[in-house]
Subunit: 400 residues, 2 copies
């Protein structure tokens, strides 16, 4: 997989973008604005955290209508754990966007990333909104991608092109990372924009399906942010026949959305603060796909497994330990473990002499670990970062 370290310079018909500075971060642009004219069909997926940030609470409500004219994102302050005052800030800022663009407030979705537990300096944000509205351009995609980053080493974008109903369609995404990259700003924000014409239901189903196996299948540090938001906006400007749920075109669109999100997901893990190794954990032979995913996640989230990843240690016993704690049935006497293609355990027992070779594989920058539970046909996977000294240093040394 090619990982672009620079934002794609892409235009998507029907959209304008801006990325400007208002001073929420110590430096660099920190306000992004995405505008669809006419309003785009929209779908969203939000954090499952039961203490969602103010922007998430508001955006969730505004997505109910299934269309959006604008998305306002600010970086540097997540507007989380800020109570009613925080909700008011999100509401006032999006109202200003509506007024400046001449669209209804409830077609403007707010998103934020940054410090939590601190009120947003409202006047500064509103100033940023004005500057952003004046800076909107059809080629502003890279500027917006840059403006939503916090401690990310690079902006994260991905683009796919496909044909739908004889028309050329573009699916582009930009996002920022969570956890290791953004310790005090633990947030995943991803925006998918396309000029495809697509029905509301099809847009929602494409996004939900695509998120499941990509952004929902990574583990940086196992913490779920108060602000996680993924939005899909479809302008319809490509002029293709409207994509209906369940059609062949819908399948192809979903595949393109999945591909851009997969690329963003890997960029997020790779750019994790302190990440030195990217480990894909594939679990096969579980009773169900859900069981398989839970086992994979238990391994990917375990601190003992993550430190083994970091040390390049083919410590398969730890993986079985974590699998045993996933809360799903396993029979350790059936488990096969493979590390980077080297079988290290069969039917729960060590294979003599395999560890040396497995260690060499485990030390690569990207490793795949496969557990076959031999209990059924369920399969699931997760992409995990290791746990490094840099992660701890970064997250411990920051003080509020």
């Amino acid at each position: 997989m090619k990982l672009a370290r620079r934002a794609h310079r892409v235009r998507i018909a029907g959209f304008r973008f801006a990325g400007v500075r208002c001073g929420l971060k110590t430096r660099g642009p920190d306000v992004a604005l995405v505008v669809a004219e006419p309003p785009a069909v929209a779908a969203g997926v939000f954090t499952t955290c039961r203490a969602p940030a103010a922007p998430v609470q508001l955006a969730r409500r505004r997505l109910l209508g299934g269309r959006l004219s604008a998305v306002l994102v600010h970086a540097g302050n997540a507007n989380a754990c800020t109570g009613r005052e925080g909700l008011r800030t999100a509401s006032v800022a999006t109202a200003l966007v509506g007024r400046l663009l001449g669209v209804p407030d409830d077609e403007v979705a707010p998103c934020a990333t940054g410090r939590i537990g601190v009120q947003v300096p409202r006047a500064r944000l509103l100033r940023g909104v004005r500057v952003a509205a004046a800076a909107l351009r059809p080629d502003g995609f890279p500027a917006a991608a840059q403006a939503i980053t916090t401690t990310d080493a690079f902006p994260k974008t991905a683009v796919r092109r496909l044909r739908l109903g004889g028309r050329r369609v573009t699916v582009a995404a930009f996002g920022k990372g969570a956890g290791m990259i953004a310790p005090r700003m633990a947030t995943l924000l991803v925006f998918v924009v396309t000029d495809a014409s697509v029905s509301r239901g099809a847009a929602r189903r494409s996004l939900t399906a695509a998120v499941e196996g990509t952004l929902n299948a990574i583990s940086v540090d196992g913490d779920t942010s108060t602000n996680d938001t993924v939005l899909l906006l479809a302008s319809g400007a490509a002029g293709n026949p409207r994509v209906a749920a369940g059609s062949g075109a819908h399948l192809r669109l979903t595949r393109a959305v999945t591909e851009v999100l997969e690329e963003i997901a890997r960029l997020v893990v790779l750019d994790g603060e302190g990440t030195t190794r990217l480990v894909e954990i594939l679990v096969r032979g579980a009773r169900s796909a859900t069981d398989a995913r839970r086992v994979a996640r238990a391994i990917g989230d375990s601190m003992l497994c993550k430190t083994a990843f970091h040390g390049g240690d083919p410590n398969w016993g730890r993986f079985v330990m974590a699998a045993g704690n996933a809360g799903v049935p396993i029979d350790q006497e059936r488990v096969d473990v493979t590390i980077g293609g080297v079988a290290v355990a069969r039917r729960g027992r060590p294979l003599p002499g395999a560890l040396g070779k497995a260690r060499a594989r485990m030390r690569r920058r990207e490793v795949r670990i496969v557990l076959d539970l031999h209990l059924g046909r369920g399969e699931g996977r997760i992409v995990a970062a290791d746990l490094s000294l840099a992660y701890v240093r970064f997250n411990a040394e920051y003080t509020t």
Copy 2:
């Protein structure tokens, strides 16, 4: 709380102990034997991991009878992820104990801690069993406590004395730690021995109740070992009237068991490899005690919270984030947060100016964090270690 760094030199009527070396660890004693004559009333609590080690599988079966004549513990190899050969090793070793002592095999419980995924050198272990059987002494408690340690900095013991039915009774415990102290040997083993006379049912209930709020309420790294075992053995040699379940004497016995386990639990967290700070998280006002405990554990297990503990950072937003991910209802607009007695957030909003004072409190070696959810009367707590550079170094640098 006084934390003894040296094993208590205690005798408990009805028991003999030994701690000897057979060579499973690179140095120091590594085989412990505890013998009750006549057989002791016994109760046990085991790991919930679904890949339990061979000794756990065997010990669990042998506890069904409710009495034990001996417990055989070896350190250095956990006999986990070893399949049928591992079960055979545990079976053969306990059979040898039975033969040497003239007791039935099924009154001998095996326990182990150490590396996982590697077969136990059986001949070496059997040699150790013979040496241990010959070394049994009424004053061998400290030797046994030392022999079960792995990377522990010191043996962990606790003693309480009480009167039951006019007789002087001793409750003593020895244990070893998990996770941070025993990264590649992630195991918690604790043995409670008492000369009290107690019914099987009362013994079981005392142990279960005592474990719940103590050993089950700590978080070193959130990983549950394949080998965790807590056993209670009661010889009855004190001559008190047999303690029946639900009696006043039973309550007092349970309290004593709880106290020794609480002491062992704190020693385990404090002696965690890399632990620099011990954080008690108390959650109040939850809908139930179970909810409260889940919220406390979510905070205590979160990598972002643990790194904040390490940095002495009063980052209460992270605590609310983790609480929001505990899977239980919370209303962030009701949450109060107190750090070391300093209120930092009320009704989900930051209290201006509180962080400076809270930071000083957060930097103490022991800190208490209180979250009041204001949803009900449920209360629960957990004692957590921080996540330090030393933890990562220790666990990453070890290679199988």
